[in-house]
C-alpha cells in the first residue's frame, strides 16, 4: 500500500499540479483543434519533457492524452468535425442536438460521461495493472516473445487501414527498428557506414513525422472545407431526466471502453464505436439515434475516455502499447530511461502510482474546465488552418531537433512525414508503423533470448502453455476476422431464405 500513498503524495508538489493544469488546458485545446489529436499532441510535447523529471514528464503526456480525448467532443458537437477520430461517433447525435439549439446539453453530457468513463478506467488501471504485472513477472523470454507477437498481431485491426495494409505498415516499422547495431551480436545492419545510423533510427523523430508532418500534408488537402460553429449559450449539467435515461449507457460504455483499451493496440476509436453501437442496441428508443439521442453522446464519450485508462494497463504492466497515444507515451518512458513492464511495479512503484493519481486528477480537472470553458475552447476550433499548421510545422522541426540536438533527426522527421502522408493516401495506417518501430527491437531480442533458452529448438515454445496461448491468440487475431467473415457470408443466404 505504501507506493499507493507515495504516488498520491508526489502529486502534492505545486509545480506538478500547475503543470497538470496547464497540460489539461493544452490537451483540451489540442483535442478541440481539428486535425490535431492526442497522439500528435503527445508526440509534439515529448521533446518539451526532456528536461523534466520522469513523473512530471509522463504525467504531462498522460494529461494531454486524457484531456485531448475528451475535447474531441467539443468540435464534434459544435462543428460536426471530430477533433479526434475517437469522437467521430459523437458527431452522429451531438451535432443534431446542437442544431436543435441544445449544444450546451450535449456538451454537458459529454463532460459528465467522459469524466465518469475516465475515472472508472483509472480505478480499473490501479487494480488491474499491478495484478497483470504480478502475473507477467513469471514470464520468461518465450512468453514475452509470444506476447509481443500478440500485441503486434492486434495491429491488423488498428487505425483506418485494412488488415493486410496495417500488417505491412507494422512490418516496415519492425524493419526500421532493425537499423543500427544488433543488440545481441553487435553486428551493424542497414547502416551504410553512416555513424548517424549506428544507434538506429530514433522513434521520436519518426513519430513527429508520421503523426505531425504527415497530418500537415493531409490538412493541405482540406483547405477548401469551411467550418461554421453552432451558437451556444453555455454548458449545462445533464438534467435528472437525462441521467435517468443515460446512466446505464455510461456505466456500460465505461466497461466496454476499459476492456477495449486493455487489448493491445486497440484504442479509443474502436471503443467509442462499440460503446455507441451498444448504447443504440440497448436503448428503448433506438430510432432516435442519429437524430440527436443524448444516450448516443453518453455512449460514445464514456467509452472513448474509458479507453485511455485501459490502454495504459498493457503499456505500463507489459510494455505493449494499448493505443497509438500510449505508444508515444511508451516512447516517452524509454526516452526517460524507464523500462515499462512488471519490474516497474516493484522497482518504480511510486512512479507508476503517481501516474495513476495524476490521470485521476486530470479527469477531475477537465470536468471543471469542460463545464466552465467549453464555450471559450469552442472558439479555438475556428483558428484558420493556414495559421495553425505553419506553427505546428515549426514545433515539429524544433521538437525533432531537440531530442539529440541533431539535424539528422530533422531529416528523419521530414522524410517520415512525407512517407507517412503517402502511406495514408494509399490506405496504410501510420499507427502500426510507429508501434512496429517501438516493439521491433524488443521482439527480435526476445526471440533471440528464447532461442538461446530453448537450445535453438523453436518448436519447444509450443510446449509452454502460456506461450501456446498467446500464439493461438495471435493466430485468432490475424485469421479470426477473415474466417468469421466467411462463415457469416456462407450463413447469410440461408438467413435470407428464412426471411
Amino acid at each position: 500500500m505504501e507506493p499507493f500513498f507515495n504516488g498520491l503524495i508526489a502529486l502534492s508538489d505545486p509545480w506538478l499540479l500547475m503543470l497538470l493544469l496547464l497540460a489539461t488546458v493544452g490537451g483540451v485545446i489540442i483535442g478541440a483543434l481539428p486535425g490535431l489529436n492526442a497522439t500528435t499532441g503527445a508526440a509534439l510535447l515529448l521533446p518539451f519533457t526532456l528536461t523534466m523529471e520522469p513523473i512530471p514528464a509522463i504525467a504531462t503526456m498522460t494529461a494531454i492524452y486524457c484531456s485531448a480525448t475528451f475535447a474531441g467532443a467539443i468540435t464534434a458537437i459544435l462543428i460536426n468535425t471530430p477533433g479526434t477520430a475517437a469522437s467521430a461517433t459523437t458527431c452522429l447525435d451531438g451535432y443534431p442536438l446542437a442544431q436543435r439549439g441544445e449544444a450546451g446539453r450535449a456538451l454537458g453530457m459529454a463532460v459528465v460521461s467522459s469524466t465518469f468513463g475516465g475515472i472508472f478506467s483509472v480505478i480499473c488501471l490501479m487494480l488491474a495493472a499491478p495484478l497483470l504485472a504480478q502475473a507477467a513477472y513469471k514470464f520468461s523470454p518465450p512468453e514475452y516473445f509470444a506476447l509481443t507477437l500478440f500485441g503486434l498481431s492486434m495491429l491488423a485491426s488498428i487505425g483506418d487501414g485494412s488488415a493486410i495494409k496495417n500488417l505491412i505498415a507494422g512490418g516496415f516499422g519492425i524493419l526500421i527498428a532493425m537499423v543500427g547495431v544488433d543488440n545481441l551480436t553487435t553486428v551493424e545492419r542497414f547502416t551504410f557506414g553512416s555513424y548517424q545510423l549506428y544507434e538506429g533510427i530514433g522513434f521520436v523523430p519518426v513519430m513527429i513525422g508520421v503523426f505531425g508532418i504527415s497530418e500537415l500534408l493531409v490538412q493541405s488537402q482540406n483547405l477548401h472545407l469551411k467550418r461554421e460553429a453552432v451558437r451556444m449559450n453555455g454548458v449545462q449539467l445533464p438534467s435528472r431526466e437525462d441521467y435517468a435515461k443515460s446512466w446505464r449507457t455510461i456505466v456500460r460504455s465505461s466497461g466496454i471502453g476499459t476492456f477495449i483499451g486493455i487489448l493491445p493496440a486497440e484504442g479509443a476509436t474502436v471503443a467509442s464505436m462499440i460503446g455507441y453501437n451498444e448504447a443504440k442496441r440497448w436503448s428503448r428508443t433506438p430510432e432516435e439515434f442519429g437524430k440527436g439521442a443524448i444516450e448516443g453522446v453518453a455512449g460514445s464519450e464514456a467509452a472513448n475516455n474509458a479507453a485511455t485508462g485501459g490502454a495504459m494497463v498493457p503499456t505500463l504492466a507489459l510494455g505493449i502499447p494499448g493505443s497509438a497515444t500510449a505508444a508515444v507515451i511508451l516512447a516517452g518512458l524509454m526516452v526517460h530511461g524507464l523500462q515499462p513492464g512488471p519490474n516497474m511495479f516493484t522497482e518504480q512503484a511510486d512512479f507508476a502510482y503517481a501516474i495513476f493519481w495524476s490521470m485521476m486528477l486530470v479527469n477531475i480537472l477537465f470536468f471543471v474546465i469542460g463545464l466552465r470553458g467549453a464555450k471559450l475552447f469552442a472558439r479555438v476550433t475556428l483558428i484558420p488552418i493556414p495559421v495553425l499548421w505553419p506553427c505546428v510545422f515549426m514545433f515539429s522541426i524544433v521538437g525533432a531537433y531537440a531530442l539529440d540536438q541533431s539535424m539528422f533527426d530533422v531529416w528523419v522527421a521530414l522524410i517520415s512525414g512525407v512517407i507517412g502522408f503517402f502511406m495514408r493516401r494509399y490506405g496504410f495506417s501510420v499507427v502500426p508503423l510507429a508501434i512496429g518501430l517501438i516493439l521491433g527491437g524488443m521482439l527480435e531480442q526476445r526471440l533471440g533470448q528464447s532461442m538461446v533458452m530453448l537450445d535453438e529448438k523453436w518448436w519447444l515454445m509450443l510446449t509452454r502453455p502460456l506461450t501456446l496461448l498467446f500464439l493461438v491468440l495471435t493466430a485468432l487475431a490475424l485469421f479470426g476476422p477473415a474466417i468469421w467473415g466467411r462463415m457469416v457470408k456462407r450463413k447469410s443466404p440461408i438467413e435470407s431464405t428464412g426471411e
Binding site: 518539451f48 524493419l175 545481441l184 553486428v187 551493424e188 500534408l217 493541405s220 488537402q221 515549426m394 524544433v398
Partner: protein
C-alpha cells in the same frame, strides 16, 4: 479509356459530408506501390546477405540476418495478398497545395544550410501564404515572431543549443 477526374470538390461544411468513400483512380498505383514494396524488399534482402555471420558460439540464438530476412519474406507474402485481395485505391487526387507543400519542405531543407531559424521562418511564412493567408500582420507573426519565440523558449527554458548559422550566430556570438 482514361477515367476523368471529378471536378474540384464544392466547399462543404463538416466532416461526415466530406468523407464520402469515392474512389477515383488507382490503376497506376495498384501496381506501382506493390512494385515499390517488392523492390524495397529485394534491396533490403540483398543487404541482409552482406551482414557479418557470427560463429555458432557467439550467435546468441539467431544470426543477425535471420530476423530481418524472415520479416522481409513476410512482407513479400503480405504484399502478394494485398495485390490479390485488397488493391490500392485512392479517394482523391493529389492537390497542387500538397505537392507545393512538399516542394516547400525541399526549400526549407536547402535553406537550413544558411540558418535553421531563417529557414523555419521563411518556410512557415511561405506555407501560410501558399495556403491562403493574406493578412500582413498574421504573416509577420508567423514568419518573424513565432520563430524567435520558439528559439528563445528552447534556448532559455530547455537549454537546447541550435546549429550555428547566419542568425543564430548573432545570439551565440
Amino acid at each position: 479509356m482514361r477515367r476523368a477526374f471529378p471536378p474540384h470538390p464544392v466547399p462543404k461544411t463538416g466532416w461526415i459530408m466530406s468523407n464520402k468513400p469515392e474512389y477515383i483512380s488507382g490503376r497506376l498505383e495498384r501496381w506501382l506501390i506493390p512494385a515499390l514494396i517488392f523492390g524495397f524488399c529485394g534491396g533490403a534482402f540483398w543487404l541482409t546477405t552482406t551482414f557479418k555471420k557470427m560463429p555458432p558460439i557467439l550467435k546468441r540464438g539467431i544470426q543477425p540476418s535471420d530476423f530481418p530476412q524472415l520479416l522481409i519474406a513476410l512482407l513479400v507474402l503480405l504484399t502478394i495478398f494485398m495485390v490479390l485481395k485488397d488493391p490500392i485505391r485512392i479517394k482523391e487526387r493529389l492537390q497542387n497545395k500538397t505537392t507545393g507543400t512538399i516542394f516547400l519542405f525541399a526549400i526549407f531543407a536547402a535553406l537550413t544550410s544558411i540558418d535553421l531559424f531563417l529557414a523555419l521562418g521563411i518556410a512557415a511564412g511561405a506555407l501560410a501564404a501558399f495556403w491562403g493567408e493574406r493578412r500582413g500582420h498574421v504573416l509577420a507573426i508567423i514568419t518573424v515572431v513565432m520563430p524567435i519565440a520558439i528559439f528563445l523558449l528552447f534556448d532559455q527554458v530547455f537549454e537546447i543549443r541550435f546549429p550555428r548559422g547566419l542568425l543564430t550566430n548573432l545570439w551565440y556570438g
